[in-house]
C-alpha cells in the first residue's frame, strides 16, 4: 500500500515537473506584451497612414521575402485574406486572414501581439499556433523588420473573411499536443550575426533562415514534424501531400550550390530558369511569389550563404550495380520518342528554354521522385520578369514500367551514375 502511494506520488510529481518544463519551454524567450507606441495603438484608423512610406515599402518587401501571400491567399481570393488549405501529414491547416478587418482579420491586434505571433507562434488570445506557420524560422526576424511587416499588413484593405478552422486529426488538433511539440522542437532563436563572417553572408543567413524559411521544406523533418537544419546530413525532405521532394541545399549532389557561380544562383531565384535548371513544383511557388521580387544584393547574399553551407558527409556514392539491358533499350527508345526533340539527343537542352538533362541533379539525385513528377505532370516554369512567357512541358501519360525504364535510362545516360528506378519507386513518387 505504502509502495503504491509512493509510486503514485512519484508519478504525480514527475508529471507536474514535466508539465512545468513544457510550460516553461513554451514561454521561454517571449518578450513581455508591452503596449504599442501611440501611433500604432490598436484600432487607430490612421496608424497605417502614419507609418512612413519607406517603412511600408520595407514591410511589403519583407512580406515578399517571407512569401506570406503564398499561404495566406486563397486561389483567386483577396490577397492576404487567408483561406488556403496547407496540407500537412497531420491534416489540413487553413491560413488565417492577415488583413486589418477587426472581426475576421488582425484589426484588433497590437504590434506586440503580432510580433509574438510571428516569432513565438502565439495568437492574440494566447493560444498556440500550429507550426505549419513557420514561426520557428520567423523567430529570427528582427523587431524592426517585424514592425515594418506589421505596418504593411495594417495598410492593406480590410477584407471580411472568417478564418476556417483547421482540419487536424486528434491529438494534433489539441493545444496540449502543440505545447509538447514546442517543448521538444521550438526554441526561439533571434538572429545573431556571426562576426567571423562577412556582412553579405550574415544578410544571406538572415534571409534564408529567417523570413525565407527555406528550412521549412529543405531540412528533413522527423516523424512529429520537427524540422532540422539546412546542413544536417540527409537534409532534404519529402513534402507532405505534395509528393515533391525538397532537395538538400547543402548537398552538391542535390540542390547545393557550392559549385555554382553566384550569378547563376541569383538568376535561378530571380527568373526561375537557368541554362541547366528550371524550378518546378513548390519551388516554382517560391520564385513566383517571393524570390523574383528580391533585390539583387539580397539574392547575392542568399547565394553566398547557401554556397558556404558545409556539404554533408559522407558524399553520395555513384551507383555501381548493374541495369537490365532491355530496360535501358526501352528507356532510350522512350527518350528518343518523347524527350529528345526538346531536351536534345545528348540531353543538352536549349539554354533558357528547355533545361539540360545531362548533369541535371533533378535527374540524378538519390530520390527519383521529382524526376518522375516532372515527366508525368509537365507544366510551365513560373512567369517572372526575366521569363514572362515560359515554355510548357507536356504531361506524359506513360505506364509505371515505361516511367521506370525512362528514368533508369536517364540516370545512366551521359555519364550519369545514379541508381535505377523501379516501378515501386514510380508508384511511391506519384
Amino acid at each position: 500500500m505504502n509502495r503504491i502511494i509512493k509510486g503514485l506520488a512519484t508519478s504525480v510529481v514527475a508529471l507536474a515537473v514535466l508539465a512545468a518544463v513544457v510550460a516553461w519551454r513554451n514561454l521561454q524567450g517571449e518578450e513581455p506584451l508591452l503596449p504599442d507606441p501611440p501611433a500604432a495603438v490598436t484600432g487607430d484608423p490612421h496608424a497605417a497612414a502614419r507609418a512612413t512610406s519607406s517603412t511600408l515599402a520595407l514591410g511589403a518587401y519583407l512580406a515578399r521575402a517571407g512569401n506570406c501571400a503564398a499561404c495566406h491567399t486563397a486561389q483567386g481570393g483577396a490577397a492576404y485574406a487567408g483561406g488556403r488549405a496547407i496540407a500537412t501529414p497531420f491534416g489540413n491547416v487553413y491560413a488565417g486572414n492577415l488583413t486589418p478587418d477587426a472581426d475576421t482579420g488582425l484589426g484588433r491586434w497590437s504590434a506586440a501581439e503580432f510580433r509574438r505571433a510571428l516569432r513565438h507562434g502565439r495568437a492574440r488570445d494566447g493560444r498556440l499556433l500550429v507550426p505549419a506557420f513557420p514561426y520557428p524560422q520567423f523567430s529570427q526576424v528582427t523587431t524592426e523588420d517585424a514592425n515594418a511587416l506589421w505596418a504593411f499588413l495594417r495598410s492593406l484593405p480590410p477584407v471580411v473573411q472568417a478564418n476556417r478552422p483547421h482540419a487536424l486529426r486528434w491529438p494534433y488538433n489539441s493545444q496540449a499536443a502543440l505545447a509538447v511539440w514546442r517543448a521538444l522542437y521550438f526554441s526561439p532563436a533571434p538572429f545573431v550575426p556571426d562576426t567571423q563572417q562577412a556582412a553579405d553572408w550574415n544578410r544571406g543567413a538572415y534571409l534564408v533562415n529567417g523570413l525565407g524559411h527555406c528550412a521549412a521544406c529543405h531540412a528533413s523533418r522527423n516523424l512529429l514534424g520537427g524540422a532540422g537544419d539546412l546542413a544536417d546530413a540527409g537534409a532534404g525532405s519529402k513534402l507532405a501531400a505534395q509528393h515533391w521532394y525538397a532537395p538538400s541545399l547543402a548537398d552538391p549532389a542535390e540542390a547545393g550550390v557550392s559549385g555554382w557561380a553566384t550569378d547563376e544562383v541569383v538568376q535561378l531565384l530571380k527568373t526561375g530558369i537557368t541554362g541547366r535548371a528550371s524550378v518546378m513544383g513548390p519551388m516554382a511557388d517560391v520564385v513566383a511569389g517571393s524570390t523574383q521580387y528580391l533585390s539583387e544584393p539580397d539574392l547575392r547574399a542568399m547565394a553566398r550563404y547557401l554556397a558556404a553551407l558545409p556539404a554533408p558527409a559522407p558524399a553520395a556514392q555513384p551507383w555501381r550495380g548493374s541495369r537490365p539491358a532491355d530496360t535501358l533499350t526501352q528507356g532510350e527508345k522512350l527518350y528518343t520518342r518523347h524527350c529528345a526533340d526538346c531536351h536534345g539527343a545528348q540531353g543538352q537542352g536549349a539554354p533558357g528554354i528547355y533545361p539540360a538533362l545531362a548533369g541535371n541533379r533533378a535527374v540524378t539525385m538519390a530520390n527519383p521522385g521529382n524526376l518522375v513528377l516532372a515527366i508525368t505532370r509537365g507544366g510551365f516554369a513560373p512567369a517572372t520578369d526575366g521569363n514572362p512567357r515560359p515554355y510548357g512541358m507536356p504531361a506524359f501519360d506513360l505506364s509505371h514500367a515505361e516511367l521506370a525504364a525512362l528514368a533508369t535510362w536517364l540516370r545512366a545516360a551521359w555519364g550519369h551514375q545514379a541508381k535505377p528506378v523501379s516501378e515501386v519507386d514510380v508508384l511511391l513518387a506519384r
Binding site: Q75, A284, C342
Partner: protein, 242 residues
C-alpha cells in the same frame, strides 16, 4: 469600318478569328507561341484540334475572349480543374491573353466527334432547346447567343458544335452545382439552373450529333456592345483584356 473589314475578310475567305482574336491589339506571334504551348496540346490535341480520348474540348478557333476568360477562370478557381489550375497558377494575365489569341487564330479542320446512340425523343427535345429555347422555363435558344450556326460569336461566346456529348453534359452539370463559374453576372449558370430534368442530356446529345460545317467560325455580330443584345447579361462577354 471594322465591320467592313470583317465582311471583306470573310468574303476573301480569311478566317475571321485571325483578325478578331485581339481587336486592335498585338499581332499573334505564332512561331514563338507554338513551341511554348506544348503543355496544352498534349491533352487538347495537335495544335488544340481536340483530344485523342474525345472528352477534352477543341480549343483551336474558339473566340479569343472566351479562351482568355476560361484561362483566368481556371487559374483563379472559378472553374475547378486541378490540372489546369496547376498549369496556370504562376502565369500572368498578359501571357494568358496571348495564349488565347494564339489558339483562337488557329484555323484547323474539325476532328470527328465520336457518335453516341441517342433516343429520338431526346434528340427532338434537344433540337427544340437549341433552336427555339423553352419559354415556359424562360430558356432562350442556344442560337440566341451562340450564333445562328452555333459556331459562336465574337468576341467571347464559344461555338457549341464539334464538342463531345460528355463534355457538354459535364459543363451544364458543373454550372448547376457551382463547379463552373464565370465573371458575374454568370449567364450560363442561370440558364443551366433553368433547365428541366433531362434537358442537359437532351441538348448536349443533339449538339454533339450535329455535323460541323466546313469553315464554321465564330460569327461577327452587328455593332454595339455584345452584352446588350444577349437575352441574359453575361459578365464574361465584354470583359476587358489585360
Amino acid at each position: 469600318m471594322l465591320h467592313g473589314i470583317f465582311i471583306m475578310c470573310a468574303a476573301l475567305g480569311w478566317p475571321a478569328a485571325l483578325l478578331a482574336a485581339e481587336p486592335g491589339a498585338t499581332r499573334i506571334d505564332t512561331e514563338a507561341m507554338a513551341p511554348r504551348m506544348q503543355a496544352c496540346v498534349a491533352c487538347h490535341g495537335d495544335k488544340g484540334r481536340a483530344s485523342r480520348e474525345g472528352y477534352l474540348p477543341r480549343i483551336a478557333g474558339k473566340p479569343a475572349g472566351y479562351l482568355y476568360q476560361q484561362l483566368l477562370n481556371f487559374r483563379d478557381g472559378r472553374r475547378s480543374n486541378s490540372t489546369m489550375a496547376g498549369l496556370l497558377a504562376h502565369q500572368r494575365d498578359a501571357y494568358l491573353h496571348e495564349m488565347a489569341g494564339y489558339f483562337a487564330a488557329l484555323d484547323l479542320p474539325q476532328a470527328a466527334v465520336p457518335a453516341t446512340p441517342v433516343a429520338p425523343a431526346l434528340l427532338a427535345r434537344g433540337a427544340l432547346l437549341a433552336r427555339h429555347g423553352d419559354p415556359d422555363r424562360s430558356l432562350p435558344a442556344c442560337s440566341a447567343c451562340h450564333g445562328s450556326a452555333l459556331g459562336g460569336t465574337l468576341p467571347a461566346v464559344p461555338g457549341l458544335l464539334g464538342l463531345p456529348r460528355d463534355y457538354l453534359i459535364a459543363q451544364l452539370g458543373a454550372w448547376q452545382t457551382g463547379q463552373r463559374r464565370a465573371t458575374a453576372p454568370d449567364c450560363m449558370a442561370e440558364i443551366a439552373r433553368r433547365l428541366g430534368p433531362g434537358d442537359a442530356s437532351a441538348v448536349a446529345s443533339w449538339l454533339a450529333a450535329q455535323p460541323v460545317p466546313a469553315g464554321l467560325a465564330p460569327a461577327v455580330l452587328a455593332s454595339g456592345p455584345a452584352a446588350s443584345r444577349a437575352p441574359l447579361a453575361c459578365g464574361s462577354v465584354d470583359h476587358p483584356p489585360p
